[in-house]
Symmetry: C2
Subunit: 381 residues, 2 copies
């Protein structure tokens, strides 16, 4: 990176590594909602939304004339490249703060995993972190055999979910926000890969169930079929916290650019991806995907992996990373257990988007990304 580029980033980051044991779809012409979109609940469903549509979204697509619309100029139809139209990131409750990515060692002993996570979170908060991100599947080995054994009933809470009970207790007592990586969740007769977000009051603000299950097969290198035991989640998850509006994905979810794009269109400041890329996909794509999501969506992307354990059946790549809104790596680590603490500065989001204004240069006359559930929720409000 040359000096000129480095200056652009003005990262003003603090990096510390604590080696712990620490739709419709609406065709562009008929669908012109002028709405307010204030609150997102934990399922990403709007509350208080208001929609004013010039005409029915049932108007057929053939009413679009590209020849006509193109004459409007390429900036005039960008708002329709996102359906419903994109919401700029709101003013966050806080602009600058420290995030901690706790790359935890994971053992076969769940109690020990919970106790260890507690220690690391306390240390990170002691070092000033106001947002803690944990790894994917941090209370259990990552294997289809383990998921049913280590799963917890998050909705029942308390003794039925000691992992999330600990996160709730700490977020309240330490007054921090925790994006709690993920744990196997049991709900009725189903298992999910679930990420819980706790607010500074200790309350569960959101629960994301991995939407895209990790089913891959690279012969001789890496084969895994999460769908053998797990059920896919049903909804994107974006949540307003004391440290900004955060979109959640779990590991394989990061491969689907559409999810990041609809979070960006819902006004996210930050995407958090607990993940456990492996020794094949890690060097191939882990950093690339984080940087691509950040650069394309012009927001912060934070990832957190388990530390590498070469004795486990699934060996994690590690390399938990924070990426800034220009796609620049702000802080990262290797594969050993470590806590990355770095500064997020949301004031850069607006600056970066002003420099490279492609959020308002899209061509809604040529392509539209439909956020099905958000659109659906507007229609039914």
């Amino acid at each position: 990176m040359n000096a000129a580029v480095e200056m652009l980033f003005s990262p003003s980051l603090q990096l510390r590594t604590l080696h712990s044991s620490t739709c419709s779809f609406s065709p562009r012409i008929p669908f012109r909602p002028a709405f307010s979109f204030r609150n997102l609940d934990t399922c990403g469903v709007s509350r208080g939304g208001r929609i004013v549509s010039g005409s029915s979204p049932a108007t057929p697509i053939r009413s679009i004339s590209s020849a006509t619309t193109a004459k409007m100029g390429f900036e005039l139809n960008s708002e329709e490249a996102r359906v419903p139209p994109a919401i700029p990131p709101p003013n966050p409750p806080i602009s600058k703060f420290k995030i901690a990515l706790c790359q935890l060692s994971v053992t076969v002993n769940k109690e020990q995993n919970i106790a260890h996570a507690r220690q690391v979170i306390e240390a990170a908060a002691g070092n000033g972190a106001q947002l803690i991100l944990l790894p994917e599947i941090w209370n259990s080995p990552y294997s289809n055999d383990s998921f049913p054994v280590y799963a917890e009933d998050i909705d029942a809470g308390g003794d039925a979910s000691p992992s999330t009970a600990m996160l709730s207790e700490l977020s309240r007592s330490l007054k921090i926000t925790i994006v709690g990586g993920s744990i196997p969740e049991r709900s009725g007769d189903k298992l999910y890969n679930a990420c819980c977000v706790f607010g500074t009051d200790g309350k569960l603000k959101a629960k994301h169930r991995k939407i895209h299950l990790f089913d891959i097969d690279i012969p001789g290198k890496m084969t895994f079929q999460e769908s053998k035991t797990l059920t896919a989640g049903e909804t994107p998850t974006i949540v307003d916290t004391d440290v900004g509006r955060i979109g959640i994905g779990i590991c394989y979810d990061i491969r689907f650019q559409e999810l990041a794009a609809i979070y960006a269109a819902r006004g996210a400041h930050l995407l958090c991806y607990p993940g456990a890329f492996n020794m094949t996909t890690g060097p191939l794509h882990w950093e690339l995907l984080q940087r691509a999501r950040a650069a394309d969506c012009q927001l912060y992307v934070a990832t957190c992996s388990p530390a590498r354990d070469c004795s486990s059946s699934y060996v994690a790549w590690g390399h938990s990373t924070l990426v800034g809104p220009f796609g620049e790596v702000l802080a990262t680590t290797e594969h050993d257990e470590a806590t990355v603490i770095a500064e997020i500065d949301y004031s850069l989001l607006e600056q970066r988007r002003k420099y490279l204004p492609f959020q308002r240069q899209r061509r809604g006359d040529l392509y539209q990304l439909v956020d099905v559930q958000r659109l659906n929720s507007k229609e039914t409000n």
Copy 2:
């Protein structure tokens, strides 16, 4: 890159550097077209398409019940994440061939630029290249002052467009396909940044006019407003050639992931982006964006820049590159004039997509990318 990863790529590439002076749109339930999509003309409009829709696309979005659809399983709705549904890449006429990325030095003398390009293309063809990619704006300095002066009437052809006349002549005589970078085009009272694709018979197979104009402002670093002189193109361009189905973008077009995604959904094997990133955006994003588009779409991406000229008002980054369908850099160069010759092997596309099958793991119940013009063309066929 470790050995295991390297083996995955099995690149079998040849890299030589010749230092020359050389929609609906359709809500997921109502829109279920079972169509054939055989021929793309130069405007990406289908010919011979047939559409069978179970019900009208006018059915309102509220008919979608995510609770219902989610039960179908996450693989069952992937086909609806692209509207119209994605077409797998067709069997290409050729599987393995050499591509040449001719990173040309550009001068203020148009005749000299044309003569020089001719020499470099002939040399590349002599080295076995069957597909030639030229840089963005290779017959003219890259400046708003120059565009009107150097512009040619491509549609009139012949003496009105000596740059494309040369490309047509060479593609026919050398029996190669040329993706002719771009030149300023005059059409009536408008100017475009246009890329011409010539087939092995010398005929103009496609003309892409830059869809997303380069209007950015990074204070003290890089400010450019193409829209001061140029008009944006009106359509994506994908073209069937003797060396596969190729989607075309020009420079800033690469920032818009939607364009790459709709090319992938139209069955592209390869995306070609003539581009002239600068000394600010080049180190930031040039390689990142190429690798991201290739990895997300699982296809080949080729870029070609002018060589760097530090005496010009706009200094190009260089670094013309070929990226494979795992997002891996297969061949690249520095900033000086050079021709990169590398091998493309389309048989890897199917393999990579089998390894990482996310093309069929998308969640059409949660997001849909609408290819407006393709959808529109189906409706009117």
